[in-house]
């Protein structure tokens, strides 16, 4: 077969048509929500948390989280002055129905609500072999459940234990920061249901968000800062014993 100039001139446009086909398809645009204008995080005020479990129940209702799995949960720490490094931590059923009453006041107690930290440099998104989990342009770590294989690498990679394999869908599942709510101008279900304001959704790109004033005037910390995950869950009043 000898390709003449004539054949080449036929082949090239054919290749171009094939290439156009590959490139075709435009994404669905969100009409009222600009991803580039947001960078989501959350502020958690530990001294305000009373361990009622409202956030856990609200999250399960809003997101159809199966029983026994948690997108958010609450831990209660009990730290005595002699056992600073080995606190007693309990989280009965994720704190969904509250915590057992404590009568005597020996040592300090506090509640730590936990959930996905929506890390800017998240280990979980880096290990996904198929590109099913990712950080969105507005700073939310999400799982594409149509693409996920359910291999569980991300579940192992999360340093905060925030992911699980969905028992019936057999794919990775986690906090979406109520992406279906925040893109509509609502706050997350956990923040909506928190009676004391211990949780506050924060838009770090919005100059009018009260988070900026809070971060300027209060000492805050993220969980496991030594892991350089770029966590965006800012804890006020975080004790050194929290892991």
């Amino acid at each position: 077969m000898n390709i003449s100039r004539r054949h080449l001139l036929i082949l090239l446009p054919a290749a171009a048509v094939a290439w156009k086909y590959v490139e075709a398809g435009t994404p669905d645009a969100s009409p009222n929500y600009q991803m580039s204008e947001h960078w989501w995080g959350m502020l958690i005020n530990i001294p305000k948390c009373i361990g009622c479990g409202n956030c856990v129940r609200a999250c399960q209702t809003e997101n159809d989280v199966p029983d026994g799995n948690f997108r958010t949960w609450v831990e209660r720490y009990h730290v005595t002055d002699t056992e600073m490094t080995t606190p007693e931590v309990i989280s009965p059923d994720g704190g969904k129905e509250g915590f057992p009453v404590v009568q005597e006041d020996a040592g300090k107690y506090f509640f730590v609500p936990k959930m996905c930290n929506h890390c800017a440099d998240s280990p979980c998104t880096q290990v996904c072999p198929v590109g099913a989990t990712f950080i969105s342009p507005d700073g939310v770590v999400l799982v594409d459940q149509k693409y996920c294989l359910g291999c569980g690498y991300c579940v192992q990679a999360c340093p905060y234990g925030c992911r699980y394999l969905h028992p019936t869908k057999h794919v990775a599942d986690k906090c979406t920061l109520c992406y279906h709510r925040i893109t509509k101008g609502l706050t997350t279900a956990c923040c909506e249901a928190c009676p004391t304001g211990a949780r506050q959704l924060a838009d770090l790109k919005d100059p009018n968000d009260p988070i900026h004033e809070f971060l300027k005037t209060h000492p805050v910390q993220v969980l496991k800062p030594q892991m350089a995950t770029g966590a965006k869950l800012y804890y006020f009043g975080l004790d050194g014993s929290v892991r």
Binding site: M1, N2, I3, A14, A15, A18, W19, Y21, V22, A24, G25, T26, P27, D28, Y33, M35, P47, C49, I50, G51, C52, A58, T61, E62, D64, R76, H78, G98, F99, V101, V102, E104, D105, Y109, F111, G131, T133, F134, S136, P137, L142, D144, Q145, K146, Y147, T168, K169, T176, Y179, H180, R181, T183, K184, L186, T187, A189, E192, A193, P195, T196
Partner: protein, 194 residues
């Protein structure tokens, strides 16, 4: 040059194989993959389609402005409506799902798609049909206000057995403005399905 014909035949085969690869790739790689990064861009839109079940206090206050006024004066000013009343939704039956094209049906044979989420109806959309359950104050209030040494010291706490002995909280307190004598007669907590 007259012996180079076999080279051109191989080159032609490569070109054809490349074109076939491009067409197959066009089918199997989702259109929005790589739009923002190494993932399917359309996934974000799909996740955002999840039904909203907690309508938000602004929705409640649109109709129940009297309660909202009472609430702003009391200690529960910053407790959102659905924190106590629960989410304002009711599940609806799942509509029949579209079958999809041949390729999607083939994929569905190998990897069954996740069950569809039922659509929801909010109390705000149809107040007559969807009525939030009126909470039992003996359970609801106790959840936050039961005394425990583990709770923050500045949070109001009582021992339920000593404090009221089985009398429902709303006998003395208006849950919307809980201080006794505050506005207990104004906008009391009435209504709602029992």
């Amino acid at each position: 040059m007259k012996d180079a014909g076999h080279l051109f035949r191989f080159a032609g085969l490569f070109v054809v194989a490349f074109l076939v690869f491009l067409v197959v790739r066009g089918y199997v790689v989702p259109k929005t993959f790589g739009q923002y990064g190494h993932y399917r861009g359309a996934a974000m839109g799909e996740i955002a389609q999840h039904p909203v079940k907690f309508a938000g206090h602004q929705t409640c206050e649109g109709c129940h402005s009297d309660i909202a006024d009472t609430k702003t004066k009391g200690a529960h000013a910053h407790v959102n409506c659905e924190a106590c009343h629960g989410a304002l939704f009711q599940n609806l039956p799942v509509p029949p799902q579209p079958k999809g094209n041949l390729y999607e049906r083939f994929v569905a044979l190998i990897v069954p798609p996740p069950p569809p989420t039922p659509p929801v109806l909010l109390h705000a959309d149809d107040p007559a049909t969807v009525t939030p359950v009126k909470p039992d104050t003996l359970v609801l209030c106790a959840r936050c206000h039961t005394a425990s040494a583990a709770k923050p010291k500045d949070f109001p706490q009582v021992d339920p057995t000593v404090h009221m002995g089985g009398v429902p909280c709303e006998t003395c307190h208006n849950p919307h403005s809980p201080a006794i004598g505050s506005d207990a007669s104004e906008s009391p907590a009435t209504g709602g399905a029992k």
